[in-house]
C-alpha cells in the first residue's frame, strides 16, 4: 500500500514550493490518474515516489511517502526501486543493453537474477507484452510505442508493487495508446498499482478509476475518472477532454471527409498517390485490408477543394529511399493549400516526420520534386519546428529568440513590440527576460512554436507541437496555428494528438500502409 502523507517539496535554489501538503493513498492493484496544468508538480511527485529524493532531488522535503512501510528517501534509489519503478517520458534514456531481450536480462542481473531463472522470466515478460518477435531487435531502433513496452517488460520483470508512468502518451499514436492501455490493464490484473501522470486523458478511461489533479503543487481536486465529464471543472483546472475526438468530427470549411480522393492530375487535384487505385474511395484505400500495391503510403480524408489562396506547396511524384535502399515513398503526389492547416497523422513509423522534412527541404528526395508556388522547396522558404525544443533554443533571453526569428536580431522598438505580442499570445510574455533553457518543458515547446510562427514562410511544418501540453495551452496553441495559417502559408502539423487535429485542422492527411523502417532498423 502506498501512503503519501502531507508531502511538501521545494527545489534547491528555489523559493517556490513545488509540492504543498499532498496526501493520498493507493491500495494494491489500484490505479490513479495524476494530471494538472504544465508545471503543477506532477513530475516532481513522481520523482519523489520513485525514490529519487534525496540522491537526485536536492531540495527540501517535508512529510513522507511509504510503500508497504518502506519510506522513500531512506535506503537509496535501488532499495526503493524494488517496490516502485518509474518510466520516464523518454524511454530511450532508460536503455542500457543492446536488444529487447537483453534489456530485460540486464534489469534482472542488476537484481541478482541470472541463468535459467532470468531466461524464464524474460521469456514470460516478452510473451505477456507481445514482444517475443522483437527480442533480438535493437532497442534503439524500435518505434516509440515498442520502446515503452520494452521498458515496461524490463521493469515489470522484477514484479514491482507500483509502476509510475510520466506522460506515456506524449509520443504515441492512438493505436499504440490502445495497445499500451491493454498492456497496463493486464499488469494491473497481476496486482500492480499504477500512477499515470498525463495530459491526454481519453485513453485512460477504463484504466484509471481514480483521479488526482494538482495545481501549483497542491491537490486541487480528488475524485474518480468520471468526474472529468464536468466541462466547467475541466476548464477551471485547465484539463483536456476525457473523450477521444473522432476524425469524422473534424471541422473545417474545405470539405473534410469528402470521399473519392481523386488521383492527382496536373491541375487542381489535391492529393494522389500511386498506390491508391484510381477512383477508389479514400476511406477504402486507407483500410488495413487494402494495402497499397507498391508498399508506399496512402493519403486519406483529403480535401478536394482548393483554398482561395491557391496551392502553396506541390509535391510531384516524390520518391524517397533510405541510404541502404529501402523505399519509404514510391511516387507520392500531393498539394497543400495556402492558408490552410493540414494535419499529417498516422501510426508511428510510417514516415510522417520524414515527409515533413522532405517538404521543408531538410531531406532530399530520391526522385520527384517539391515546389512552393513554382519555386524549389528549401529552408529559405520553408520552416520546420522539430520535436526536441532543447536543440532549438540558444539566445540569452526568451525575447531575443523571437526577435531573432523576426529577422531583426538586434531588435528595435517595433520588432520588440511585435515579439512581445507573439509571446503574449503564447502566454510567455512574463518570461520574456528568462533564459530559454531555464523554462519548463511545456514552456519551451510553446516558445519554439512561437519562434517558428514568427518567421515569414511559404510552408510551416510543426512536428508534434502539443505532445506535453495541458488543455489550456493546447487550445492556445491551436488558435495560434490557425492564426498563422490565415496569414498565408500552408501549415502542416505532424501529430498524434487528435484533439489538436479537431481544434485546428482544415483537412487531414493520414499516412497508412506498411510500416516504414528506419535505416537498418526495425519497425
Amino acid at each position: 500500500m502506498l501512503k503519501v502523507e502531507s508531502l511538501s517539496y521545494r527545489h534547491a535554489h528555489s523559493d517556490r514550493q513545488a509540492l504543498k501538503d499532498v496526501s493520498f493513498g493507493l491500495a494494491p492493484g489500484q490505479s490513479l490518474l495524476l494530471t494538472g496544468r504544465s508545471g503543477s508538480g506532477k513530475s516532481t511527485l513522481l520523482a519523489i515516489l520513485a525514490g529519487l529524493y534525496p540522491h537526485f532531488l536536492k531540495g527540501s522535503l517535508e512529510g513522507r511517502a511509504t510503500l508497504d512501510g518502506l519510506e522513500a528517501g531512506r535506503g537509496g534509489v535501488a532499495e526503493w526501486g524494488k517496490g516502485a519503478r518509474l518510466m520516464l517520458q523518454n524511454p530511450e534514456a532508460q536503455f542500457f543493453a543492446g536488444t529487447v531481450g537483453e534489456e530485460i536480462l540486464l534489469t534482472l542481473r542488476c537484481r541478482g537474477v541470472t541463468g535459467q531463472e532470468a531466461d524464464d522470466i524474460a521469456k514470460e515478460r516478452l510473451g505477456t507484452l507481445g514482444l517475443l518477435a522483437l527480442r533480438d531487435h535493437s532497442v534503439f531502433k524500435l518505434s516509440e510505442g515498442q520502446k515503452q513496452k520494452a521498458v515496461l517488460a524490463a521493469f515489470t520483470s522484477l514484479r514491482p508493487k507500483l509502476l509510475l508512468l510520466d506522460e506515456p502518451s506524449a509520443n504515441l499514436d492512438p493505436s499504440f495508446l490502445a495497445d499500451l492501455k491493454s498492456v497496463l490493464k493486464n499488469l494491473r490484473k497481476e496486482g500492480l498499482s499504477l500512477i499515470v501522470a498525463d495530459h491526454r486523458l481519453y485513453w485512460l478511461e477504463g484504466l484509471c478509476e481514480r483521479l488526482l489533479v494538482l495545481e501549483e503543487g497542491q491537490v486541487a481536486f480528488e475524485g474518480s475518472f468520471g468526474d472529468l465529464a464536468d466541462g466547467q471543472r475541466r476548464h477551471r483546472l485547465g484539463l483536456r477532454s476525457p473523450e477521444a475526438p473522432r476524425p469524422t468530427e473534424l471541422p473545417g470549411p474545405r470539405g473534410l471527409n469528402l470521399p473519392a480522393a481523386a488521383p492527382a492530375g496536373p491541375e487542381g487535384h489535391p492529393v494522389s498517390e500511386t498506390g491508391n487505385p484510381e477512383g477508389h474511395p479514400a476511406s477504402e484505400a486507407a483500410s488495413p485490408e487494402a494495402p497499397p500495391a507498391n508498399g508506399s503510403l496512402q493519403a486519406v480524408q483529403t480535401a478536394v477543394t482548393v483554398g482561395g489562396n491557391g496551392w502553396a506547396v506541390r509535391v510531384e511524384n516524390l520518391r524517397f529511399s533510405y541510404p541502404e535502399g529501402r523505399e519509404l515513398f514510391g511516387g507520392l503526389s500531393l498539394s497543400l493549400a495556402a492558408g490552410e492547416v493540414t494535419a499529417l497523422t498516422g501510426p508511428s513509423g510510417r514516415g510522417k516526420t520524414t515527409l515533413a522534412r522532405l517538404l521543408c527541404g531538410l531531406e532530399k528526395p530520391t526522385q520527384g520534386r517539391v515546389t512552393y508556388q513554382g519555386k524549389p522547396a528549401g529552408l529559405e522558404l520553408g520552416q520546420v519546428v522539430l520535436q526536441n525544443a532543447d536543440h532549438q533554443l540558444y539566445m540569452p533571453t526568451v525575447l531575443a529568440e523571437v526577435t531573432l526569428s523576426l529577422g531583426q536580431g538586434k531588435g528595435g522598438k517595433a520588432v520588440k513590440a511585435k515579439a512581445m505580442e507573439i509571446l503574449e499570445a503564447f502566454g510567455l510574455a512574463e518570461l520574456a527576460d528568462r533564459h530559454p533553457q531555464s523554462l519548463s518543458g511545456g514552456e519551451k515547446q510553446r516558445l519554439v512554436v512561437a519562434v517558428g510562427l514568427a518567421r515569414p514562410t511559404k510552408l510551416l511544418a510543426l512536428d508534434e507541437p502539443t505532445s506535453g501540453l495541458d488543455g489550456r495551452n493546447l487550445s492556445l496553441m491551436a488558435a495560434e496555428i490557425r492564426k498563422a495559417a490565415q496569414a498565408g502559408p500552408a501549415v502542416l502539423v505532424v501529430t498524434h494528438d487528435l484533439e489538436l487535429v479537431s481544434l485546428c485542422a482544415d483537412r487531414q492527411l493520414e499516412l497508412t500502409g506498411p510500416m516504414a523502417l528506419s535505416p537498418g532498423g526495425q519497425p
Binding site: 520513485a50 529519487l52 540522491h55 537526485f56 534509489v77 535501488a78 526501486g81 519503478r85 518509474l86 520516464l88 523518454n90 534514456a93 532508460q94 542500457f96 543493453a97 543492446g98 536488444t99 531481450g101 537483453e102 536480462l105 540486464l106 534489469t107 542481473r109 542488476c110 537484481r111 541478482g112 541470472t114 541463468g115 532470468a118 531466461d119 524474460a122 521469456k123 527480442r135 533480438d136 534503439f140 521543408c360 527541404g361 531538410l362 528549401g378 529552408l379 529559405e380 520552416q383 520546420v384 522539430l386 526536441n388 532543447d390 536543440h391 532549438q392 533554443l393 540558444y394 539566445m395 531573432l404 526569428s405 533553457q437 519562434v451
Partner: protein
C-alpha cells in the same frame, strides 16, 4: 527454443565483430602508447595504425563527424594558446612538435575509443570489465560514459539541423568559419546544456535501473576469433614500430 541469454554469447557489432575485451585492449594500448610517445613522427605512425582500425570498425560518416568535431576543438584550443602567447611569451617560442603532439594523442585515443563506444554493447563491456577484475566503482562510471557517446553524437546532429533551419539553410563551412561567435552561441552553448542534461538523465536512468557499483554481470568468455587475433597483432606491431620511431627518429631529432 534457444536460450535468451545470448548476452553471454555475443560478438560485437562493427565489420570485424570483435570481442569487447579486444576493443578494451586496443583502447588501453592506444592510451598508454600515446602517453609514452612524445615524438610527433612516432605519434603520426601510431595515428596511422589507429586510423586503420577506426576505418575498419566505424562508419565513414561517423568518423568524419568525429574528426570535424575534433578539428574544431583543436582550433579553439590553438586559438586560446595563441592568445595566451601574448601574456606568456614563452608559449610562442615553443616548438611545433610540442604544439602538435597533444592533438596527435587526442586523435589516436579517439580512433581507439570510437569503435569501442559505438560497436560494443554495454552488457558485453560490463562483463568484459568484470572478467578483467576491475572494481565496480570503475566499471559503472565507464559504462555510463560509453552509453553517453551515442547520445552526444545524436545531440550534435540535431543541433546542426536546428541551426540549419533557423539560419535558413546556412550550414556551409565557410559561413560558420566567418561567424565563429554565432557558431559558439548557436551550437556549442546548447550542446553544453544538452550534455549536462543528458548526463543527469543517464545517471538517473542508471539508478532507476538498479545499476550499482557492486552489480555482477557474470558471463562466460568466448574464444578469440581470427579478427581478434589479427587486431591484437596489429596493435603490437603499431606499438613496436612507433616505439622504434620514437627511439630512432626522436633521438636523431634530439641531437
Amino acid at each position: 527454443m534457444r536460450a535468451l541469454s545470448r548476452i553471454d554469447h555475443y560478438r560485437g557489432a562493427g565489420r570485424l565483430s570483435l570481442r569487447a575485451e579486444t576493443r578494451l585492449m586496443m583502447t588501453a594500448v592506444a592510451s598508454i602508447s600515446s602517453l609514452v610517445l612524445s615524438d610527433p613522427q612516432a605519434l603520426a605512425l601510431l595515428l596511422s595504425f589507429s586510423a586503420l582500425y577506426a576505418v575498419a570498425e566505424t562508419k565513414p560518416k561517423t568518423l568524419l563527424i568525429a574528426y570535424l568535431f575534433m578539428a574544431v576543438m583543436c582550433s579553439v584550443a590553438l586559438f586560446c594558446v595563441w592568445l595566451l602567447g601574448f601574456v606568456f611569451p614563452i608559449i610562442r617560442e615553443s616548438s611545433l612538435s610540442m604544439a602538435i603532439s597533444p592533438f596527435l594523442r587526442l586523435a589516436v585515443t579517439m580512433n581507439a575509443i570510437l569503435p569501442l563506444a559505438l560497436n560494443s554493447r554495454l552488457t558485453d563491456l560490463a562483463m568484459a570489465l568484470g572478467r578483467l577484475h576491475l572494481p565496480g566503482l570503475v566499471r559503472l562510471p565507464l559504462m555510463v560514459t560509453i552509453r553517453f557517446i551515442p547520445t552526444i553524437l545524436n545531440d550534435m546532429i540535431q543541433l546542426r539541423e536546428a541551426v540549419g533551419i533557423r539560419f535558413r539553410g546556412r550550414k556551409g563551412f565557410l559561413f560558420w568559419l566567418s561567424h565563429p561567435f554565432t557558431w559558439w552561441r548557436v551550437f556549442f552553448q546548447p550542446l553544453i546544456v544538452r550534455l549536462i542534461r543528458s548526463a543527469d538523465e543517464l545517471a538517473m536512468a542508471a539508478e532507476l535501473k538498479g545499476l550499482e557499483p557492486n552489480t555482477e554481470f557474470g558471463g562466460s568468455p568466448l574464444p578469440f576469433s581470427t579478427h581478434d587475433r589479427a587486431t591484437m597483432l596489429l596493435a603490437a606491431l603499431a606499438m613496436v614500430l612507433s616505439g622504434l620511431a620514437q627511439i630512432l627518429v626522436g633521438a636523431h631529432a634530439g641531437r
